[in-house]
Symmetry: C2
Subunit: 617 residues, 2 copies
């Protein structure tokens, strides 16, 4: 049975052949992470995802988190899996040794994100939120807070939550109503109702550390009046032991929802009896800044989730297409064949392969950039990588979450009627990942972040430099047989994309203030398409070079013997697959991207001009 | 509270202003269906969908059909709703009076399809399958069979099923293994296992009439060896009463599935004890021809379902967007506004409006064409309309089912986190309609039907003539202020589409047999886009003319008074909405369609050339 979560060969190819992340081991910070070590860690992660996380999530979807008498009960096996995750060091993999961590680079940790989030988001979201809560306490907490809360969270003994959303405050956190009142002893009384709280109640560990956004009495409205508080489920003694005294927190219900059934999404009331104790984290009114310090890694994680889901969906669709006998062969209709032989099925599969592999390199690249923004030797380099991360995060988050859902949807289609059945995991994949385009900032919000905050960075130079860097691979490809039309298509599409910021500025200057808002989403999508094209082209270039070397090595000098090699030799077949994946994407997707660019350039503003009543209803 | 399933004003506009279907009442066959009568029937249908069908489906999704001790139990209220549907005449609306019908035109009946299928597909699929079974018995059955089965099915006393699929025979019915053995008395013994049988068991009525595809012993393999049999759940006496003797049929399980929870999808075993009696319908080995005689109306119904779902999704998203306060206004960020004021939300809403209204006219147009193919006065006209129906059916089925799902998905996105919650109906809409791109021939199969069976009709003339007919409205629009760029865009896209059949032929002649198979799907999509553009343009032209007349009537002769009118007067607002909807679609969607056409024209064949092993996995 083939590996069904991720193609390990492809993971290694992306990391070590395309991006060459093993270079990181030349830096002092990551000296111990040689390619051998990395490969071992990847293999372990894959095994854990396959054997523990994925099966638990299939079960968790059917059984779901249950809400009984005001308490949440998780799917049997969840606490054990969480313990195993903590014990194997994944909660603190990126942290320093004094925090119990391994100092792992982001680019290695993100592989676990890709595999773990996509194979069991319900469990992993608890791990992520707990990690992030601990990280905030590490960065902004007092020594006492670190001792009382952070250590237990990093250690996996307690879980954490992020308590932000209210019924009137979703994307717009400035509208938060929850109050904090000074008790006079330096602590606060929290009161308010929150919803969509992931893991708001849980039986996975014996205590929960909530981080809550609230407004201290008298502080101004909007986001700048928000502070952040540590609010434990069970009050903690000064020696770190549990007092046994429950804080004044009630979980009032859990959501019945489309996917992620094993993940309890809670409605919570804090301070119903006016006795919910909270401890200020960091300074007053610094809540939003503290909370959003982790926004890049969080959004990167969501992109990794979408990418991992695409990978699982692709591999399941591929297996089904190889096994399902239906219909006749194109060349001989009497010959009943597996559906992978039908052109339209091949088209869909190769599309799924292209997105999966392109997104995978994208996710690794950005995580690698995050590492390089910290460990590159020159300040200039660090700044450049930091700019790249900031520029691309909204694209990665939105694009990979949208495409993750689309790929899961295509996997359902490949399965036909069986794709709708709970017997196959693809419909669950689709339901689960549907959340990804909404959490951590919707796709619409990422588009605005890209156009209004990221494009203007350094007067547009960050964007322009990133596009310019793409010329490198196009240049190296240019002389190769069979590539000219593809290179032309890529360069033309990229050139079209490069013109868009000027169009936004021009329209804004002409008074069409709504124009860039209307076009932001499609611009982000087109940018993502071009990035896919770039990474697939880079992958194909490596494959071309490796294939060439292989042909030389095997003495395959003419077309016929080369064809024989690419039809038989495992590595040659893999490289040929990379080459055709890139060609398929560039030749079939990028022409559509040009259409998207033409759509952006069209200055139709009907959606802005139409009066509300003309929408009908 | 606004009407939440369909905008009745828009339904009437599409029928009576754009398509002028009231002309039908000038024909003898439909003389009684005047506009007044039609409007009354539409209002009644809408009321029934809103008050009975939609609420029952919301309940049915949560409770689901249950399978207990080998029997299926439906959601409480289902039998009553089915009775009400039959009593109000909808099961036989299109049939003649001697069959208990009203002789209703298709274009009127399809409005019920749009409303009913989308508000409660589980119930309506039973009604459709029962109707279709009765219709086949009407067309091919003996007088006795009509008396024994058809009358009860049309009357709503008994339900019916279509029993086709087997585990190895889905899209490929030729692979059916179920056997029929002659018993010597003219009847047959049926034996085999079937699955995905909608309503295979049911407690909605006291008997079920299965129509089963099976192969008589000794008949050839493939579809041409299949015959069709009437197989009642309970054996029927010769006087039409129930014998009480159950036929040898067992429902072995019902599927746990993504959506349509109220609709039992059954696995069935026929003849486990070698005593399942079947009665041949029509001639031996005529099964496929008999079964596929109803394929056009069935596929039209699925398109109507997608369209109705888009409508419900749009109206729910619109209502939510008007009510949900979140974030600041573009011109004054301190002013917190409903999200319908945000440009990106408006863009999504207007996109949903455009697809909903374009698909609505498309569905009505094709149903009207079906009527005209029967009642037009000249044989030439009838033939022309019949050709139009055949050409467009695969486009309508695939396009409206795909877009129905996409629009439901957009409605989820507009709702943010609430969109994932079972408290709002949009996630259910998305799950339910996901089936539409699979049943009655997948999207891939529709693409092949279009390219290989429909484009070649009359040497390509049916396609060419249909495109040529679109020039009419473009011509009438041409002189109007503010339209030139839109007309140019429309004509350019249409011209690109018109070139594609030649490209298919050229590539095939050059030996690239796979080319049209690889491109069929995108071609269908692009064709659908152009059709949307055409119908939205036709709607806008009517709106322009009506708005002009209104301006004259109200004395609004200058720009300012015209603006005041289109901002205030209900009709003027509606017409302005139509105009901007068309502009939005043409200015933002059709440029992307041009990209799709460029993608089709690209002769990249990577998906065909890649060897199976290079897909990885």
């Amino acid at each position: 049975m083939p590996n069904i979560l991720a193609d390990e060969k492809d993971v290694r190819f992306a990391l070590f052949d395309v991006l060459k992340v093993q270079e990181l081991s030349k830096t002092e910070a990551f000296a111990s992470f040689t390619q051998d070590v990395m490969e071992m860690i990847i293999a372990e992660a894959l095994k854990f995802a396959e054997n523990v996380l994925f099966p638990l999530n299939l079960k968790g979807d059917k059984e779901g988190a249950r809400f009984v008498d005001g308490r949440v009960f998780s799917t049997p096996g969840t606490a054990e899996a969480y313990r195993a995750l903590a014990d194997s060091g994944w909660l603190t993999a990126r942290e320093s040794e004094d925090l119990g961590g391994q100092g792992m680079p982001n680019v290695l940790n993100v592989i676990a994100d890709e595999l773990f989030l996509s194979s069991n988001f319900p469990l992993m979201t608890t791990a992520h939120v707990t990690h992030d809560g601990a990280k905030l306490i590490e960065l902004f907490g007092t020594e006492e807070q670190k001792h009382l809360y952070m250590e237990k969270m990093y250690g996996g003994q307690w879980t954490g939550t992020m308590v932000l959303t209210e019924s009137g405050a979703g994307s717009d956190l400035g509208a938060i109503q929850t109050k904090a009142t000074r008790r006079g002893d330096g602590t606060y009384t929290i009161s308010g109702s929150k919803l969509f709280i992931t893991g708001g109640d849980s039986d996975v560990t014996e205590n929960i550390v909530h981080l809550i956004l609230a407004r201290i009495e008298g502080d101004p409205p909007g986001t700048k009046g928000l502070s952040i508080f540590i609010v434990p489920k069970i009050i903690v003694n000064s020696d770190g032991s549990l007092s046994g005294v429950p804080n004044d927190i009630v979980c009032t219900r859990i959501e019945e929802k489309l996917g992620l059934h094993a993940s309890p999404t809670c409605q919570m009331t804090f301070g119903e009896n006016n006795d919910c104790i909270g401890y200020l984290l960091g300074k007053e009114r610094a809540g939003i800044n503290i909370m959003f310090g982790l926004i890049n890694p969080s959004r990167l994680g969501i992109g990794a989730w979408g990418t991992g889901t695409a990978s699982i969906a692709y591999l399941h669709a591929l297996r089904y297409a190889k096994e399902r006998i239906q219909g006749g062969a194109l060349d001989n209709p009497r010959n009943r064949v597996a559906i992978i032989n039908h052109p339209d099925i091949r088209r869909i599969l190769l599309t799924m392969k292209a997105y999966t592999e392109g997104m995978r390199v994208f996710v690794y690249y950005l995580s690698y950039a995050l590492d390089l923004s910290r460990v590159s030797s020159s300040a200039e380099e660090r700044e450049r990588w930091s700019g790249t991360v900031d520029l691309l995060i909204p694209v990665l988050k939105a694009y990979c979450s949208e495409k993750g859902f689309e790929m899961a949807n295509l996997a359902v289609q490949i399965h036909g009627g069986y794709g709708l059945s709970a017997e196959y995991p693809v419909e669950q994949l689709m339901r689960d990942v549907r959340t990804a385009t909404i959490v951590e900032g919707t796709t619409g919000i990422q588009g605005m972040d890209l156009v209004f905050r990221k494009l203007p960075m350094e007067g547009g130079a960050v964007f322009a430099d990133f596009l310019a860097a793409m010329d490198d691979v196009a240049g190296k490809m240019a002389g190769r047989a069979g590539w000219q039309a593809y290179i032309d298509q890529f360069k033309r599409t990229k050139a079209g994309l490069a013109e868009m910021p000027a169009a936004f500025s021009r329209q804004t200057a002409e008074g069409n203030k709504a124009f860039p808002y209307l076009k932001a989403n499609l611009f982000l999508e087109a940018f993502g398409d071009v990035i896919m094209g770039w990474f697939l082209l880079r992958s194909a270039l490596v494959a071309e070079e490796r294939l060439e070397a292989l042909c030389r090595e095997k003495g395959a000098t003419d077309a016929a013997s080369r064809d024989a090699l690419t039809a038989g030799d495992m590595d040659a077949v893999f490289f040929q697959g990379k080459i055709l994946t890139a060609k398929h994407f560039i030749g079939t997707m990028l022409p559509v991207t040009e259409g998207k660019l033409a759509s952006i350039a069209w200055n139709d503003l009907s959606a802005w001009e139409i009066v509300e009543r003309a929408f009908g209803g």
